[in-house]
Symmetry: C2
Subunit: 315 residues, 2 copies
């Protein structure tokens, strides 16, 4: 038996307890689950899994001691560790950290994870992560994942067992994905109430650049422009109402998390920023020229598209 230290072994760890339970045909023995990162996403996952099955054993791993204490106290996890090596006995290892931290974890898990362990991530971009997963030794399984939900508030305090309910959970196959790994990942997503879409990493990253990363850039740039305009005049913020609030909401997202996302999806976002800037210029030209006909055509088309989105997502 390997020596145990306080740091690299879970603080409490009961072996052979029933744990995460996908259909018995898929996984033959009770599996143990480690969640690396206990922020909004990892914390919410732990809470959601616990809500479905309190008996399931979850190891929480993060360097943030206060978060480990809070997660133990809230009953989100059964064991806590500050070290990735605590994932060594887990059958399923979920990586719920900023994208570049996930990339580091994948690399380090090459040595740590047990034979046949499944690594599933929850990062917001998939190309670089899937590429790193493809480099894992053949003894390991890996599936890329991206739950399409979030809040502008980060951290375990914002975690919420219902975060994944009725949300899309994208799964992206890798060179280390087999049918069993995919089934286990699907079962996990279903357990927390999500609907699974399978999508390759390239298309995933293109789509999220358009519907998630560009909206963040646009919101952030609007918040900055308004802040520069206000220049300390509190009247500006008094007058700002729901429209401003909603349009800029994403700007409050955690900058470190977003930086990782932007830098690992740079080409797709750059393409879309150019497309956005070109259309913004067309709109500006029509407005400067008071070209009512062009302006109306542009605004009506956008309104129709957005109203159509409302109808689709309500149904």
């Amino acid at each position: 038996m390997r020596p145990q230290t306080a740091d690299d072994r879970p603080q409490t760890r009961e072996e052979d307890e029933p744990a995460f339970n996908p259909p018995p045909s898929v996984v033959r023995r009770p599996s143990s689950l480690a969640i690396v990162g206990l922020g909004l996403m990892g914390g919410s996952l732990a809470l959601a899994l616990k809500e479905k099955n309190r008996a399931q054993k979850i190891i929480g791993i993060t360097r943030n001691r206060a978060t480990l204490d809070a997660a133990l106290q809230r009953g989100a996890i059964d064991a806590a560790s500050a070290e990735l090596s605590a994932a060594r006995d887990a059958d399923i290892i979920v990586l719920a950290a900023p994208v570049r931290a996930i990339l580091t974890h994948i690399h380090n898990l090459k040595e740590i994870a047990r034979d046949g362990a499944l690594i599933l991530d929850m990062g917001s971009t998939k190309r670089e992560i899937v590429s790193a997963m493809n480099q894992l030794p053949e003894r390991l399984r890996a599936v890329g994942g991206h739950p399409m939900c979030g809040k502008e508030s980060a951290g375990f305090d914002a975690a919420d067992a219902t975060l994944y309910q009725d949300k899309i959970f994208v799964l992206t196959p890798t060179a280390r994905t087999n049918e069993c790994a995919l089934n286990t990942s699907r079962a996990l997503a279903h357990t927390i109430g999500s609907r699974v879409i399978e999508l390759d990493a390239e298309r995933h990253d293109e789509i999220v650049a358009a519907v998630s990363h560009l909206p963040y850039i646009v919101a952030s740039n609007l918040a900055r422009t308004a802040d520069d305009f206000a220049n300390g005049d509190e009247m500006v913020w008094e007058i700002a109402s729901n429209g401003f609030r909603d349009t800029t909401r994403l700007a409050a997202s955690d900058a470190q998390m977003m930086l990782d996302i932007l830098l690992t999806n740079r080409e797709n976002i750059a393409d879309l920023m150019r497309a956005y800037a070109r259309r913004f210029g067309e709109l500006a030209d029509a407005l400067y020229a008071a070209d009512e006909k062009t302006l109306r055509a542009i605004l009506e088309r956008a309104a129709q598209s957005r109203q159509g989105f409302n109808r689709k997502s309500k149904s």
Copy 2:
């Protein structure tokens, strides 16, 4: 007595009934109120006033017969007319129409409104409206108004008695504003639950360009860019989640209403579009160059500003 026709007189009109009741010190006799335009804003105003005082007589004026019927049926108004001339006996005339329609109404009310009548508008830009109000004959009173609220759904069907509750109602003095007119306008805003801010038309239009019109442009342009990107691929809309929904919500606004707003606040919006585009370019440059330090500084500042706005508007 003037001859009455079905079109230019209210369909039902009871004289000398108690009506809108500001403090007795301000208005000496029961006043009658006409609301021109019964869309989201005018309809919500009628419903809110009725909720506070069912005895108050309200004349609803719009060319949309179906809306008049719906408003009568829902008890929002007591009398209905398709003609502006039906406002001739009203002590208070509220203009709740798109900005350029308000400009036409102000012009036409020169002949129609009774001596001493107060004209209050609810248009989203104030400079052109206040300028038109300044041209009214001296026998009339006029105050510019702009309640800072709205929904992306338009029309009487979307009207809601609580729309103005706890919202800011901007009042803008004109050359036809005296203390009595201002007090009556304030009382009306307070009756529907709003908080009044007095602001001159120039500063109002600058501020709403930043916190309302630029956000609309940005949202509309984002919706159009995403729609072009999607190019019919429904998967894009399936993946789009709350972030996209919120950032683009304003894009679904009524295009005609927004066109009036943009064209009557063109210079301010153009200035802010230039400021926005310049910052968007800085962000794009930093991203293309993978200049993490600059990117982080830009995104963190926007996040801090937006988080600060959250704290302010929650308190």
